[in-house]
């Protein structure tokens, strides 16, 4: 596996959109941090949200559940959301769990934004 990187979430406002970058190893003890970081984004009412997973090394069912809750909150507020840059192992999890049917997935952030998510 790739070297373990301490999990972090970076939020980049870009005009009316927000790019959310999940970085590192989203293990069990990171659930509260992930939830607490994502939820305020919904209240900011961005035009679109792109979740960049290109630097996410690992995710478990807790992380997937939090992403689903985030998606639900955005959708309730009519805010489109897409996922960008999933690595092979993460993409495999999305495929196996059928989350790939719930999130539009793009190669990278720029492709997601260009596609008018």
């Amino acid at each position: 596996m790739d070297p373990v990187e301490e999990f972090s979430v970076q939020i980049e406002p870009r005009e009316d959109d927000i790019i959310v970058r999940l970085i590192g190893d989203a293990t069990l003890t990171k659930g509260d941090y992930l939830q607490d970081t994502l939820w305020p984004i919904i209240e900011q009412k961005p035009k679109r949200v792109v979740i960049d997973l290109s630097r996410l090394i690992f995710v478990n069912s807790l992380g997937l559940g939090i992403l689903l809750g985030f998606r639900k909150g955005l959708t309730r507020n009519s805010i489109p959301v897409a996922v960008a840059g999933t690595r092979d192992h993460i993409l495999d999890v999305f495929q196996e769990t059928r989350l790939i049917e719930l999130f539009k997935i793009y190669d990278d952030v720029e492709s997601a934004l260009a596609a008018s998510v």
Binding site: L28, S61, I66, H89, E101
Partner: protein, 144 residues
């Protein structure tokens, strides 16, 4: 001589214990030349199994413990994880990939273990899980 490891760990019922167990198991599977994809699968199954044992089995009661025993060699990894809870019936866990369940934010742990490991079994009480992962060869394009 081929690498082979046996170890038994006793964990407190706290989520921060999971990383300690993961480190021990993953160091052993790396030493036995398991692929990156195998390592990802093992880590995922371990996190799900230990989270279930700590949160649902032992109900995060710090007076209770989770035991983890494993054997790994260059052919396969076998892990048994037991908690002190009353157990559960894995057959009654809903399939999270059914249409009516895929948007639910919970209920994927047991299913992920079954999907990412090669063999999974429970004792009669349902509080001990044994899972097996066969090492895939480096030339294989798929880890599972």
């Amino acid at each position: 001589m081929a690498a082979s490891y046996d170890q038994r760990l006793v964990l407190d019922s706290r989520l921060d214990e999971v990383s300690r167990a993961e480190k021990v198991v993953l160091e052993a599977v790396v030493a036995c030349n398991f692929s990156d994809t195998d390592q990802f699968a093992i880590k995922l199954a371990l996190e799900e199994a230990l989270a279930n044992a700590i949160k649902h089995g032992n109900e995060s009661d710090e007076g209770k413990h989770v035991t983890l025993e494993f054997h790994v060699d260059e052919r396969k990894l076998t892990i048994t994880i037991c908690d002190e809870g009353t157990g559960f019936d894995p057959q009654r866990v809903p399939d999270p990939t059914l249409d009516e369940n895929i948007e639910k934010p919970y209920g994927r742990g047991v299913w992920l273990i079954k999907t990412y490991m090669n063999e999974v079994s429970y004792n009669d009480q349902g509080n001990c899980l044994t899972m097996v992962k066969f090492r895939t060869h480096a030339t294989s394009s798929s880890g599972r």
